[in-house]
Symmetry: C2
Subunit: 344 residues, 2 copies
């Protein structure tokens, strides 16, 4: 039994005294105690060493007391386990030296034995659960198959992922084969995470918003739906598609417990587009955490008023930025804990 049930109650659609709060990418980047660890261990060492990953996961909880923890890891551990080399280059970010550009490149893509290749993630989950001591729930995550394909094809981040789209539009059979391999691996991976102890999983479709509604359905959503179908009876699934406002109606009927919303979608639009029943999570502009703390608190209170306190999880609209002052992140969490409904 988890002691602080706010997050799970929100996922179940139950009424709460105040909404739960956590922040995408809350573990890492902007935290001084994380930067200390970063000095001594490179990116994948941090991900692959359960002692480090679990320590980084609980750091923001100790400091800010969010209502949920999210395992420190990366969406690119999946292609890495599938025999696609992934490096993390300081300054550049992810770097895949041998990207997938042709049908024959697919031959070297493997569907891995997840317990063998990604056992370190499961160990990190078990160790984190011990550290959390059932105080709050733990979230596991994966990238959407489309978003993973974007990196596999492009080989790095991109403004518009034009090469990934070119791959899909000129070699659709190869693209679907790759997407299905990623989907199958992701389903096994997330099921193992649930067995290891996570209380919910989130699927990040960071680049879904690069696609037209029709192409989104074909190259992204149908694979996310497969993952939701496979997981929804075992755990809560949160589906987050950045820029995917046009697909929210379909997402709301998917069986996901909650949907992530980015900051371009007002709370009213988000409730309208999702049909008003499903739990929503979001959607503070990460750059707005650069405003003065008092302004942040006012904006957060207004955001909760607009979403409503129930069926709502306070979060950012995408990951926290590295240059956010710690006191500003603190103001964000405090604003939620201090929240009073209008007239209360």
């Amino acid at each position: 039994m988890i002691k602080n049930e706010l997050f799970l109650k929100a996922l179940r659609g139950e009424t709460v005294s105040r909404p739960p709060v956590w922040m995408m990418r809350q573990a890492g980047r902007y935290l001084p105690e994380f930067m200390e660890i970063k000095k001594n261990y490179d990116f994948f060492t941090r991900c692959q060493t359960p002692e480090l990953a679990s320590e980084i996961t609980v750091q923001p909880i100790r400091r800010f007391g969010m209502d949920a923890a999210i395992l420190f890891s990366d969406i690119l551990v999946i292609p890495q386990a599938m025999n696609i080399d992934v490096e993390m280059r300081p300054g550049t970010g992810p770097w895949l030296p041998k990207p997938i550009r042709t049908s024959s490149d697919l031959d070297r893509v493997e569907i891995p034995d997840v317990t063998d290749k990604l056992g370190y993630v499961m160990e990190a989950i078990k160790m984190t659960k011990e550290k959390l001591d059932d105080e709050i729930p733990l979230i596991g995550f994966a990238g959407s198959p489309w978003t993973i394909l974007c990196y596999c094809v492009e080989g790095q981040g991109s403004k518009n992922f034009a090469m990934a789209k070119e791959f899909c539009f000129t070699k659709p059979f190869a693209a679907h084969m790759l997407l299905q391999k990623i989907t199958d691996t992701t389903i096994t991976y997330l099921k193992e995470k649930v067995k290891a102890g996570v209380n919910a999983v989130q699927i990040f479709d960071s680049w879904g918003g690069m696609l037209s509604p029709k192409d989104y359905q074909e190259f992204s959503w149908q694979y996310m739906q497969q993952i939701i179908d496979a997981l929804k009876d075992e755990t809560h699934v949160i589906a987050f598609g950045k820029g995917c406002w046009f697909a929210l109606d379909k997402m709301a009927k998917s069986g996901a417990s909650a949907l992530g919303i980015d900051w371009t979608c007002s709370p009213a639009n988000a409730r309208y587009l999702t049909g008003g029943q499903i739990t929503l999570q979001g959607n503070f502009d990460p750059s707005r955490l650069l405003s003065p703390p008092d302004d942040i608190k006012k904006m957060v209170a207004k955001m909760i008023d607009e979403f409503g306190k129930d069926k709502y999880i306070v979060n950012l609209g995408h990951g926290i930025l590295p240059n956010i002052p710690v006191e500003n992140a603190a103001a964000f969490v405090e604003a939620v804990k201090e929240y009073k409904q209008p007239g209360e």
Copy 2:
């Protein structure tokens, strides 16, 4: 009198036999005859030499026969004229060596004498009008103040323009001062373009979709509205905000003659969000021009069916990409010229 009136009729909301077609960034990049010119003249020489700019402008018209030409130029001629250095680095794109990051950086930003500093643009317009010989209309353009600010602050392109947003959110007074200076310059600039002979102007808000609806209103839309107010009695204004679906309702009431739509917004959503009365322009995914020509033709016909042939200008949802085969661009234009209504 312009002989081919399809584009102007669509802007006036009049019924047409088929919708007009042009493509954002149709002059340049993917055209072999442009690449020949590019070999011998650097970017700003091409912009600043009326013979070259007018020649590049009419190249795609000769080859494909679009229903409107758009002057070859760049949105960054505005900051350049305002005493902010702009270079174009092959591979990187725009590079501003001395970006605007502080209030004191604003001291060196000038409101220029447009006829002096940007006279070459007006010369290019006059020369292009002669070459076009009133066959089709000529479009002039400018970046939105917010999009120009993005480059002035960031100093180059960016995935999320986090520095530009940081500038606005931490130094709002300086940001508004810069935005107003850009707005004032842009209004004078576009009025001069109208005097020089353009038949319509388009405002490109390429990075408006990075902002929340509230911040969009504050840092982008209010300045675009000023430009529309100042120009709408003199010419047709087309307002294009990439990723700005959330602001389409307001844009539809702005006095603009037409709104540009990107490919994440289905035709049905675009008509719904704009209230169903205003002329719309768009919204083919530029990456979809990589599909085989026969597929392109089918997709274009379907797009016209969905938007409806009236109050509609066929276009891409953003600029054409450099790697588009010429025959695919041709298929896009041909599909419009061959268009027959369902049942026709």
